[in-house]
């Protein structure tokens, strides 16, 4: 069966190393993911925190990032390459664009979920705006901010497969090779590898999400704000921590 053949392919030691090996491509894939995520964080977190903290510019930013999400990544990448030629940076740029909306949404809704009373209380005891941000808002918002990062990471990992089409490497090469040679086994193996990587990354970030919930904040806090807050977060792409049981 296809699945079995793919698994055998993955665990065949011959396929692990070398020019077309799983490990080097995995490393490259992680490289693309890291660079794009880093760029997206650099842009997305400050913007998200800014509009979350001040509550201003929310509509403009949300509308803009909403339209980012609608951009067909594949087309955008090919378009840019026609001007820049092949290379790493068009890929990183496009993946970052893809990742910025969920990061902004996560940061924004994270800060949004911090109750006004808490912030007012902090202000009344004399904290400066920066202190409020750093000591109150961000720690309380961390689970949701990380939820946005988690969502962004998943998207990047899955979309980075396109690198294999434009002269780069990464796990997507298995998909493109499977396509070119019409070899379902290789394609399936590629699919499993990318899915596996995504799940692993998701698992790590989920763990992180649980770990950064500050003392005294119940795990269900993010959910209760759904009902108590009346602000609108149109198409917010945050991943609410799933409270199991």
């Amino acid at each position: 069966m296809l699945f079995v053949a793919a698994i055998l392919f993955i665990f065949d030691p011959e396929n692990l190393l070398g020019d077309k090996g799983i490990l080097p491509r995995l490393v490259d894939h992680l490289l693309y993911t890291g660079l794009s995520l880093g760029a997206a964080l650099l842009v997305g977190i400050p913007i998200g925190l800014l509009i979350g903290h001040t509550g201003k510019g929310k509509n403009v930013v949300i509308a803009l990032t909403g339209s980012f999400r609608a951009l067909p990544t594949f087309g955008l990448l090919l378009f840019i390459i026609l001007f820049t030629g092949l290379g790493l940076w068009p890929l990183v740029f496009v993946l970052a664009v893809l990742a910025i909306p969920p990061i902004i949404a996560g940061a924004y809704s994270g800060l949004d979920s911090v109750s006004r009373e808490t912030i007012d209380a902090a202000r009344s005891i004399g904290m400066t705006e920066w202190q409020i941000l750093g000591k109150v808002e961000i720690p309380l918002a961390l689970p949701l901010i990380l939820g946005g990062v988690r969502s962004a990471t998943l998207q990047i990992i899955a979309t980075a497969t396109i690198a294999g089409y434009v002269g780069l490497t990464g796990l997507g090469r298995f998909l493109i090779e499977g396509l070119a040679y019409h070899d379902y086994t290789i394609a399936f193996a590629g699919a499993i590898l990318v899915a596996g990587l995504a799940l692993a990354a998701d698992g790590v970030l989920a763990l992180l999400q649980k770990l950064v919930v500050p003392h005294g904040v119940s795990r269900g806090s993010a959910r209760t704000t759904t009902k108590s807050k009346r602000r609108s977060i149109p198409s917010a792409m945050t991943r609410a921590p799933i409270t199991e049981g």
């Binding site: 026609l82 030629g85 092949l86 089409y165 434009v166 493109i176 090779e177 396509l179 070119a180 040679y181």
Partner: protein, 308 residues
């Protein structure tokens, strides 16, 4: 109890459901010719680069003029994909290249000249349930191409001249290049060119490949001989005295189920008039400033040739 809300929701569902089924049912209908005897539907595929799209249109439009209903299925991909597509009926006809087709169907083949290849093809294709009609005079072959400067620096004239520097170069081509008879295996066995790095750029010798070649990210590229960029950039095609790459005449490949004398006559009309020069000019028009669609390029040429 049926509250207004439920009625509203049900109505909404019904509306959406109707729209959906209408949309889903309105499948890509063949452009119906009216009145005339309909010879059936032919789906013409193409491989995913401009020239293939144009060739598909050439054959398709002639068939349409001859009474068939023609659909097009563009950018299918490599031979490994379109042969199964021909076999399972997803497409009926696709323009292909004689040499690569032969070696794809029969890896043990040895023919290299135009005539020999065309002679060997029918037998090679028979077990696959496929057939070809006459080949066009036009040829478009894979070619290993370098910049003028690189050729001068390394005194490159033939493919074999790459052998001494093979381990220092990167060859850029579509993914499937490596596995082809003129890929890793052939380059080593025929010309002793081995140890080179491979960079997969899946644009059929398009802009990505070209820009990498010009910026020396790759030193050799597989660019097809009728591609305008070769002339435009003064690129050097490395000669192939050992005929590693067999003759590549344009040839209509189809599922033998659609064969009829009428069918063959129609597609032959195109093949008989298509020379390499004509094909190159078609490519140049397609890549020219106004970037006409493959359909228009084909229609204009067919009209000029009196075939429509």
């Amino acid at each position: 109890m049926q509250s207004p809300t439920v009625k509203r929701i049900t109505a909404g569902f019904v509306a959406i459901g109707l729209t959906a089924s209408l949309a889903a049912c309105a499948s890509g209908d063949p452009l119906g010719g009216d009145g005339e005897v309909d010879l059936g539907t032919i789906t013409v595929g193409s491989q995913g680069f401009a020239e293939s799209d144009i060739l598909a249109q050439l054959y398709g439009q002639v068939l349409a003029a001859g009474g068939y209903t023609v659909n097009y299925s563009p950018s299918i991909g490599s031979r490994e994909t379109f042969i199964p597509a021909l076999q399972d009926g997803s497409i009926d006809l696709i323009p292909d290249y004689s040499g690569n087709l032969l070696y794809g169907a029969d890896p043990e083949a040895t023919a290299t000249s135009s005539g020999d290849v065309m002679e060997a093809l029918p037998k090679a294709l028979e077990p696959l349930g496929l057939a070809v009609s006459s080949a066009a005079l036009a040829e478009d072959a894979d070619a290993l191409v370098v910049t003028k400067e690189f050729a001068a620096e390394n005194e490159l004239v033939t493919i074999g001249d790459l052998a001494p520097i093979a381990s220092t170069i990167t060859i850029g081509a579509n993914t499937e290049f490596e596995g082809r008879s003129y890929g890793r295996a052939g380059l080593e066995s025929v010309y002793g060119v081995k140890g080179w790095k491979f960079k997969a750029i899946d644009d059929y010798g398009g802009p990505g490949t070209l820009s990498d070649l010009l910026s020396n990210n790759i030193q050799v590229a597989d660019i097809y001989t009728t591609t305008p960029s070769i002339k435009q950039n003064g690129l050097v095609v490395l000669e192939d005295p050992e005929s590693l790459i067999a003759a590549q005449n344009i040839v209509p490949l189809f599922n033998e189920k659609v064969y009829s004398v009428n069918f063959a006559n129609l597609v032959d009309k195109v093949s008989n008039k298509l020379t390499t020069e004509e094909l190159m000019s078609l490519n140049e028009i397609s890549a020219g400033d106004s970037k006409p669609s493959p359909e228009k390029v084909a229609t204009d040429w067919l009209t000029k040739m009196g075939l429509l």
